[in-house]
C-alpha cells in the first residue's frame, strides 16, 4: 500500500501514469457530453413551465457541480501537501485552481443567462446559490492571486493551502448564512430543492452531461498537473533525459 503511494507520489511515475490515463477520461467524457447535449437540446421534451429555456441546465448544472468539486479537490490536495509534505499534491492544487475558477464563472454566466427569461433580470440578488457561487469565485481569485504574488514555489504552495482550508470552513458558513439571508427577503426560489420532479427524459441527458463534464474535467486536470509537474521539475535529471531522448518529446 505504502510503496504504491510513494510510487504514485514520485513525479516521473505520475507524469507517465497521467499521460496514460488522460485519454481514458477524455474520450468517454466527450462521448457522454455529445450524447447528453444532443439529447438534451433536441430530444428531451420542453418544460411545461419554462419551455425551452430550461435546456441551459445541461451546461449550468454540471459546471456548478464541478466548481465545487474543484474547490474540494484543491483544499484536500493542499491539506495533504501541508501535512504529509507531498509535493505532487501541491502541484495538483495549483493545477486545479484555474479550472475551478473557470467552471465557477461558467456556472455564474449560464445562471445569469437563465435568469433573464425566468426572473426577468440578469442578476438576482436574492438567489442564495448565485451568491455562494459568487463568493466561491472570489475565493478562487484570492487563492490564485496569493499564489501569483509569492515567488518561491514551496512557500506559495503552503500559504495557499492554508488559505484553501480556511476557505472551506468559510464556504460552509457562507452556504448557511446566504440561505438564511435569502429566506428573509423572498420566500421562494424557482428551483427549490426537492422541487418539481424532473422527467426521466430530461434527467438522463443531464446525468450524462454531469458525468461527461466530470470526466473531461479529470482529463484536463491530469493534463494541467502534468504541465505543472514538468515545470516544477524542470531542473531535474528525469525531465532533461525525457526531453532529450529521441522518442521523448510528448
Amino acid at each position: 500500500m505504502w510503496t504504491w503511494f510513494h510510487k504514485l507520489a514520485s513525479p516521473p511515475h505520475f507524469y507517465r501514469l497521467a499521460k496514460a490515463l488522460s485519454p481514458w477520461f477524455l474520450v468517454p467524457g466527450l462521448a457522454l457530453i455529445a450524447y447528453g447535449t444532443f439529447t438534451g437540446l433536441f430530444i428531451a421534451p420542453p418544460d411545461y413551465q419554462q419551455g425551452d429555456a430550461y435546456r441551459i441546465i445541461y451546461v449550468h448544472v454540471p459546471s456548478a457541480y464541478l466548481s465545487q468539486m474543484a474547490y474540494t479537490v484543491m483544499a484536500i490536495a493542499g491539506g495533504i501537501g501541508l501535512i504529509w509534505r507531498m509535493k505532487l499534491s501541491h502541484a495538483v492544487a495549483a493545477a486545479v485552481a484555474p479550472l475551478g475558477a473557470w467552471f465557477t464563472f461558467l456556472s455564474l454566466a449560464t445562471g445569469s443567462i437563465w435568469g433573464r427569461p425566468m426572473w426577468g433580470t440578469w442578476w438576482e440578488w436574492g438567489d442564495p446559490r448565485m451568491m455562494s457561487q459568487l463568493i466561491l469565485l472570489f475565493l478562487y481569485l484570492g487563492y490564485m492571486a496569493l499564489r501569483a504574488s509569492i515567488d518561491d514555489t514551496a512557500k506559495a504552495d503552503k500559504a495557499s493551502a492554508v488559505l484553501a482550508l480556511v476557505g472551506v470552513i468559510n464556504l460552509v458558513i457562507v452556504r448557511y448564512s446566504v440561505e438564511w439571508w435569502s429566506s428573509l427577503h423572498q420566500g421562494q426560489t424557482i428551483l427549490a430543492e426537492g422541487g418539481p420532479a424532473i422527467d426521466a427524459e430530461m434527467l438522463y441527458p443531464l446525468l450524462a452531461n454531469i458525468l461527461g463534464f466530470a470526466l473531461v474535467f479529470g482529463s484536463l486536470l491530469l493534463r494541467r498537473v502534468r504541465t505543472e509537474v514538468l515545470y516544477r521539475e524542470r531542473r531535474t535529471r528525469w525531465v532533461r533525459e525525457m526531453i532529450l531522448s529521441p522518442q521523448g518529446q510528448t
Binding site: A145, S149, K155, K158, W180, W181
Partner: protein, 244 residues
Amino acid sequence: MKDADADLGEDEDRIFLSNMPGLMAGLAASTRRDLVLAWKRPGDVLNPLFFFVMVLILFPLALGPSAEQLQAIGPGVVWVAALLAMLISLNSLFSADYEDGSLEQWLVSPQPLPVLALGKSVAHWMTSGLPLVLLSPLLAATYGLPAKVIVVLLVTLSLGTIILSLLGSIGAALTVGLHRGTALLSLLVLPLAMPVLLLGSNSVSLAAGNETHTAGVWALAAYATAAISLAPYATAAALRISNE
C-alpha cells in the same frame, strides 16, 4: 551513558514544565505589548476610526438627507463602514513585526505561536474593533435608528469585529512580507468577511423592522466562538510559512 542522557533530557523537561509561565501569561504579555505600542502611536488607532466616521458622513451627503431613507440604509451602511475600517487597520498588523525582526523572535519563542497570535488579535480588536463599536451608537443615532435597534447594532458589531480581527489576522499573516500586500489582503479577507456582514447587518435590519433577529445574533456568536478557537492556529501556520 545512554541513561544519563535520558535523565538530562527529562530533567530539562521537568524544569521546563515547572517554571514555564502559563499560556495566559503569554497571551497577556503579547496583548499588553501591542496595547502599549498602540498607546505610543495613536495614529494607527485613530486613522481607521476617522475613516469610519468619514464614510458614514459620505452617505447622507451622496443620497440626500431624507430621514426615511437614511433610517432604511443605516444598519447596512454602518456595517459596511465598520468592515472597511477594520480592513484598513489590518494592513499593519504584522508588517512592523516582520520588518524589525520581532516576528522571528516569536517563531522561536517557548510560548506557542497561536497563543501569541491570539494575543495580537485581542489587542487588535481592543484598538480597532472596540472603538468602532463604542462610536457606532452615536453615528447610528444620526441616521435616526431607534435605541432598541442600536442595542442590536452594538451586540452584532462587537461579535462581528471580533470575527473580523481574527479572520483578518489570517489574511495579514499570509500576506506579510509581500510587495503587493495591501490589495491582496482585501482580496483574501473580503470573501471571508461576507458572511459576517450578511449576518450582522441583516440582524440589525430585522430589528429595525420589528422582526425576530436573534437567529443572526446567535449565528454570529457561534461564529465568533469558532473563530477564537481556530483562527489563531491558521494565523500561526501562516506566519511560519510567510517567514520562510
